[in-house]
Symmetry: C2
Subunit: 414 residues, 2 copies
């Protein structure tokens, strides 16, 4: 790992000054290589799939692991899309003259070496690598053992693409070893690694955060709330509440708890709940919800429900006395990922925006919009629930930092 770190550090200094043209050329070459290597990728992936089946991995896991022709095409397309994005490196902003006569501003620069630790999906290998390349960083990728063959086949495409563009191949190192010790070393090499981005289950991320001496950009749960206010347009509320839960279940920006102001609960909940139940969503409500809806299929929510990220067709529902109770519930149980208020009231909307301390706070929109592509970042390496550095969807900018630059004409401090 020491050697990997040294190589990454050296490559990072070359990547930091690589031109936009070179980096984009590399991304397009990688896309070509992926398309040209479709057969090899499928073959390598088959080895991983066989091993996974032998080990008895479940079907969801197998699905994440599988490289289909569509997924291979999507990986190549992803490379070309990132090539189209503007280069964040070297961007200068906020230049202004100071009373002393110096001109001060900021220049955007790469972070250096980014360590990415992830689990089974091989497309993460490409996504993560290309964002690091575009943002002028070097990266060390450590994927899951289930995807080892697929990842090495992808590594070969990336190396060829980098080589073709004249960029250092060691700017993207995909570890061959998948043993746990490698992770332990990687997260404790601040001299070689500037930041760790773990992608995977909560257990993985918690373990890494606890043990790392390198800073970690983390994404823990997505316990997202929609709060239907007394002044909500109930048609908008119904459509958003339904979308936020049912558009996709296994994603971090899906709503897990619906909060409804008591003034509108009787009018709002029965219809909506019927719609959820017809759609196969399991409902768990507070006492008042169950009274108002009066359907045997509506289960009783326990305290544990409010703090659970279901990532499934399950929703907890709570009727709240007022705005303050809604905020209190969110403050207590939210994972600070995304919350949305449905209201037509200007003052209430402003209060919600100011008070709720989550990475995305919305008014009259589905939580499902909390996403790098939807926000216009072009791509994302994850969604940060941290407050420092990057918060919310992390795109190219989240993989960079800013340094101060100063222009003088011989200026000295007096």
């Amino acid at each position: 790992m020491q050697q990997v770190g040294q190589q990454a550090r050296k490559a990072a200094s070359e990547m930091a000054v690589a031109t936009c043209a070179h980096k984009d050329a590399a991304l397009r070459h990688i896309a070509d290589q992926i398309e040209a290597s479709s057969a090899e990728l499928t073959q390598a992936n088959a080895l991983d799939l066989d091993a996974a089946e032998t080990r008895g991995l479940d079907s969801a896991m197998l699905d994440r692991l599988r490289l289909t022709p569509e997924r291979i095409a999507a990986m190549a397309e992803g490379c070309r899309q990132v090539a189209e994005l503007p280069d964040p490196v070297g961007e200068i902003s906020d230049m202004s003259y100071r009373p002393s006569g110096i001109q001060v501003g900021k220049m955007r620069v790469p972070l250096g070496v980014i360590g990415i630790i992830y689990e089974s999906r091989p497309n993460v290998t490409v996504d993560a690598a290309i964002l690091c390349i575009k943002s002028g960083n070097a990266t060390v990728l450590r994927g899951g053992s289930e995807a080892a063959h697929s990842n090495q086949a992808i590594a070969s495409c990336i190396a060829k693409g980098m080589h073709a563009a004249g960029l250092p191949t060691q700017a993207v190192q995909i570890l061959k070893t998948t043993d746990r010790d490698a992770v332990g070393l990687m997260i404790r090499m601040p001299e070689y690694v500037d930041v760790i981005v773990p992608r995977g289950g909560k257990g993985l991320i918690e373990r890494i955060s606890r043990e790392a001496t390198v800073p970690v950009i983390k994404h823990l749960d997505g316990i997202c709330h929609v709060y239907v206010d007394a002044d909500a347009d109930l048609a908008k509320a119904k459509s958003i509440a339904f979308n936020a839960k049912t558009h996709r279940y296994g994603v971090c920006n899906a709503m897990e708890t619906l909060l409804v102001h008591q003034q509108v609960a009787a009018q709002f909940l029965p219809d909506l709940c019927a719609q959820y139940l017809t759609h196969g969503v399991e409902l768990r409500g507070c006492d008042l919800t169950r009274e108002l809806v009066n359907d045997d299929r509506l289960l009783a929510a326990t305290d544990q429900d409010w703090g659970t990220e279901y990532l499934a067709a399950v929703l907890s529902i709570k009727v709240v006395a007022d705005f303050a109770s809604a905020i209190e519930h969110i403050t207590t149980y939210s994972s600070a990922h995304t919350e949305s208020i449905i209201t037509e009231n200007y003052t209430t909307a402003r209060q919600f925006l100011r008070t709720v301390d989550s990475s995305s706070v919305m008014v009259n929109a589905s939580t499902r919009f909390a996403d790098g592509f939807e926000y216009g970042l072009g791509a994302e390496i994850g969604i940060s629930t941290d407050k420092l550095h990057a918060r919310g969807p992390v795109g190219l900018q989240g993989l960079t930092s800013e340094k101060y630059i100063v222009f003088g004409d011989g200026h000295i401090r007096v």
Copy 2:
């Protein structure tokens, strides 16, 4: 510490929504309290000074500890200056409509609870507290035992000022205990503390960084370089090199190593060195420097010199073969704080700006400008040599984060 943490977390949620008017009123009340308590502050400080003398602290330490009438007036003035700064909290930027129809942007928000660990200077107590108040954060301050009485007297002024403005007094908690265990607990309470800012010697900062589970904004050494290029205007170079070393010695943005391109070294160095020596600066040069200058007082630099932050009237000087050698020296020995190039060459200046990976990179200006006030931040809580989150001088903005905000009109993902 558990209780301190809980109180801080609660106060932080109140501070986050405090209006600009309330926060500024608190700062002005604190200024009034400090002025009105001049006698009490001096008395408390005398107790600390007596104890320090008894314990045999050196005169530099005693000087840092001393509260003079001027320093007390400056603390009050600092409060009023921060009150004049614009409120960073709630600033909205980059709002734009996306193809989906949602409007997305960012809102600046406080970080939450900021832990500050520092050593003897009691004015840091006020500086740190007021920056945290203005940026809508709660803070837990842990000063050095030498300043315990002074800090408690200051704490009383702050509490009275907060109370007078109707803000929670527990938003600024100045720990009475000065034992080391308190620090150990504070840096390991991520549930209550969002970021730690250590201010003090390298030993303190390294220990905290190693042991903290809370993110740390750190400032290690300031080994700053001035590089005099072959195309430098030597009059500017002389004035800047002299200023960067001699304007103040014990500061992190003072130059510690002067690099000179060999083409101009013979013309440039003898005069400048004579000027330094007359001024009482001890010089340590490379072989070539000593040949060119030929003065017995010019000592031989050892390898250790290049990596030393003197914080004193000492300068190391090295003649380099070319631009690339200068960059290599900086990459090897710089602490990534501040570096300045002196050149009239457009291309060389651009290369230096792009290549040097320090928190401040300058052209034709003295490194002494690397400072929050000089950069127009209004105040600073420290200078970060980290890359993540805050880099360079950290002002109010560095104590905040941004969350995404989304406005819709009933928008759902399709």
